[in-house]
């Protein structure tokens, strides 16, 4: 399996609307991977459905006033976080952003703890200390995000730096939106990762809008082109094709693990909901949404599973039913779980000791084959 690497393209290319990275017809990579078993495929579907249904439930709870603050989702982008996180070994580490809920589930998070975090419950991942998608279950090797985007980019490079310094075959992965690539911190992180040839995999979710700001106001050149200037490959895939994402990411992970340095993978997709539930996204042309609705990642994959891989309609429906029950039960559990005790509000600014992050689940049948074990750490 080869990865096609981008060369530095003519910077004027983006002015040609027909060549927009958001042209849904553009595909560069094979749409199926020889690395996935039947079980893997079912799992991929299941994680995407779980993300979609869990967020749907969360949105409903938000509108019912059961969730305070803000609500963010990755509707229409389920393939990216699921496809990418599926490539990881247990000892790999991941900084997950607000439209990447699927990655949490792949690593082993239960739905009730996701909903609990949104509702500020004691049983939520941060126990009420942080809200909405600002969480990461440390026992699953996940690091929670920071609002200042892309604040996790340098953190992921740092995690990768630790792996490199210790000679471990482990990978650090993170996500960021196309808008945050305008930020100086993104440049600093990419540059440092390139200079040090760090085992990092960077997923660039290009979903067309940074809040209300369209791509043409964020950059002149598609950020994936910049990878070359940092000294590592950048490639662009259809972000609504979970196996395309998986395939591209798996290659990047393998490269990183073997000391080949970082990779920037642009996943082209569309944000189907507003920036947050408080945003009606009236700035998005309706025809654009209509076009992308036809390319819903879950619908597309289900079709492919039935048509190309011999899954029955019943198997697919079963996944939906089971997930539906799981999400309903999770919502029940989260709703009846207690709020945190106010006494913890002033605690925890300082740590008494450092402890290693735990390892996450790695549901992919071939994950971790050549990865280092986790848990090795300093004192």
């Amino acid at each position: 399996m080869t990865l096609s690497e981008t060369s530095v393209r003519d910077a004027t290319r983006l002015d040609d609307a027909a060549q927009s990275p958001h042209d849904p017809s553009e595909r560069e990579l094979p749409t199926e991977s020889g690395l996935l078993t039947r079980t893997d495929r079912l799992a991929l579907l299941r994680y995407m459905v779980t993300m979609s249904q869990a967020e749907e439930r969360g949105l409903a709870l938000y509108r019912q006033g059961k969730i305070t603050g803000s609500f963010y989702d990755g509707c229409g982008q389920e393939a990216i976080s699921v496809g990418a996180a599926f490539t990881l070994a247990p000892s790999d580490r991941i900084c997950i952003l607000h439209r990447d809920l699927g990655a949490h589930f792949v690593r082993g998070l239960s739905v009730d703890r996701y909903l609990g975090n949104y509702m500020g419950r004691a049983g939520g991942v941060t126990g009420g200390k942080d809200g909405n998608m600002h969480f990461g279950d440390r026992s699953l090797g996940c690091v929670g995000m920071v609002s200042m985007l892309p604040a996790m980019a340098p953190v992921a490079t740092g995690i990768a730096l630790a792996f490199k310094m210790r000679g471990e075959r482990r990978v650090a992965m993170t996500f960021f939106g196309e808008g945050s690539t305008a930020n100086g911190v993104w440049h600093e992180a990419m540059n440092f990762a390139g200079v040090q040839r760090l085992p990092a995999v960077f997923l660039l979710e290009n979903n067309g809008f940074a809040y209300s700001t369209p791509n043409e106001l964020e950059f002149r050149v598609d950020p994936v082109e910049r990878a070359a200037t940092y000294g590592f490959p950048g490639l662009s895939v259809d972000g609504n094709d979970v196996e395309a994402v998986f395939t591209a990411t798996q290659g990047a992970v393998a490269r990183a693990r073997s000391g080949g340095g970082p990779t920037l993978i642009e996943c082209r997709t569309m944000r189907m909901h507003g920036h947050g539930a408080h945003d009606d996204m009236s700035y998005v042309p309706p025809e654009m949404l209509a076009e992308w609705r036809r390319r819903d990642p879950i619908d597309l994959y289900e079709a492919r599973l039935r048509e190309n891989f011999g899954f029955s309609g019943e198997e697919v429906d079963k996944v939906h039913r089971e997930v539906s029950a799981e999400v309903a039960a999770a919502a029940e559990a989260a709703l009846s779980s207690p709020m945190p005790d106010a006494v913890i509000a002033r605690r925890g600014a300082f740590a008494d000791r450092w402890e290693p992050l735990g390892d996450g689940d790695a549901p992919w049948s071939q994950s971790g084959a050549d990865a280092s074990p986790g848990g090795r750490a300093g004192r």
């Binding site: 580490r93 941060t126 200390k129 942080d130 600002h134 969480f135 990461g136 440390r138 690091v143 929670g144 920071v146 609002s147 200042m148 604040a151 996790m152 980019a153 340098p154 953190v155 992921a156 490079t157 740092g158 995690i159 990768a160 730096l161 630790a162 792996f163 310094m165 210790r166 650090a172 100086g184 911190v185 440049h187 600093e188 992180a189 540059n191 440092f192 200079v195 040090q196 925890g348 600014a349 300082f350 740590a351 008494d352 000791r353 450092w354 402890e355 290693p356 992050l357 090795r376 750490a377 300093g378 004192r379």
Partner: protein, 321 residues
């Protein structure tokens, strides 16, 4: 015990920790082959290799952020801002990512940020700052400011071993002008403990960093019974030592080279006013830099930074009150 300069003591502490613990590494600009702008890491690349003494790009957010990530994964990075002033360029990663990580996510970030700070040599506005007060307002950071070579070594070692992000303010003016006895081998000074640099009964000067030396010199030249309390740690403050001294003498001058408004002195003064009011025989005063950027030309700089005469004057006034 050896007599060494403040700068050598920092090198010594760092070197010993790197020898003791292979997860300790350095990250900063010009620290590898060049040995650092102030030569703190002179010889380190030769001894520990360029992989442990990393020359970073000119990118403070990348330095602080990468250190954060590495620390999360169990390394013990000691990053260096070439001048404390440049922490402003890495402020977001330090304050929003590193400092808040444990409170929010229960994830410890054991890292040190070394900050060569302070003025007095025509460094101008961007090479002379004492930025510690910015971080007093950022819960989750520990903040150290040694005044002696002994404390510089001992506190750096403690900082490296602490599981939290630690800002280590090393005053540049003290690098080669302060020398005192420092134990060889392992030497630890606990974080959070102030030190009585000079005992006294008539008044107390509470100070840290360069101001400690100014206070000691003033006390000696005035020949008065002035106590000098060296805070050493700014966060967490040794409130017990502060209040004990304030209650005993009843007269307190808080002194630091950093600017006045909302500086460490304001915090100490408020603490004393709240907790030791009935033991005060005089209002709590502060001696600090004026609230302006630090100017370049020597007469201007001297008019802004607290000088020995200012310290003596402030002490005299308080003693006479």
């Amino acid at each position: 015990m050896t007599e060494m300069t403040y700068l050598d003591a920092i090198s010594d502490g760092l070197r010993e920790e790197m020898r003791r613990d292979e997860t300790v590494f350095c990250l900063g600009q010009d620290i590898g082959a060049f040995g650092g702008a102030f030569k703190v890491t002179d010889g380190f690349a030769e001894e520990f290799g360029c992989d442990r003494v990393l020359d970073a790009p000119l990118a403070e957010n990348a330095i602080i952020g990468a250190a954060t990530g590495a620390a999360i994964e169990g390394m013990r990075p000691v990053c260096e801002m070439q001048f404390s002033d440049f922490i402003a360029c890495g402020f977001d990663q330090l304050v929003n990512v590193a400092a808040k990580m444990h409170y929010r996510q229960g994830v410890a970030v054991p890292m040190v940020v070394r900050l060569p700070s302070g003025g007095g040599f025509s460094g101008g506005p961007f090479h002379s700052q004492n930025p510690e007060a910015w971080f007093m307002q950022s819960p989750g950071l520990k903040i150290l400011a040694p005044a002696t070579a002994n404390d510089a070594k001992g506190l750096l070692v403690s900082a490296i071993r602490d599981p939290n992000p630690v800002c280590f303010l090393e005053h540049k003016g003290l690098y080669r002008h302060v020398r005192d006895e420092v134990p060889e081998g392992e030497h630890i000074v606990a974080i959070g403990e102030a030190r009585v640099a000079r005992p006294g009964e008539e008044m107390t000067v509470i100070a840290y960093g360069s101001a400690v030396h100014l206070a000691l010199q003033a006390a000696t030249e005035l020949g008065e019974d002035i106590e000098v309390l060296d805070l050493r740690t700014l966060c967490p403050l040794d409130t017990e030592a502060i209040l004990t001294s304030a209650r005993r003498t009843g007269k307190v001058l808080v002194a630091h080279e950093a600017t006045q408004s909302c500086g460490v002195g304001a915090e100490v003064a408020a603490l004393i006013a709240a907790e030791a009011f009935e033991d005060l025989d005089a209002p709590v005063r502060r001696l600090t830099a004026a609230d302006v950027p630090i100017p370049f030309s020597p007469p201007l700089e001297q008019a802004v930074l607290p000088q020995l005469d200012d310290m003596k004057e402030a002490c005299r006034e308080l003693l006479a009150y």
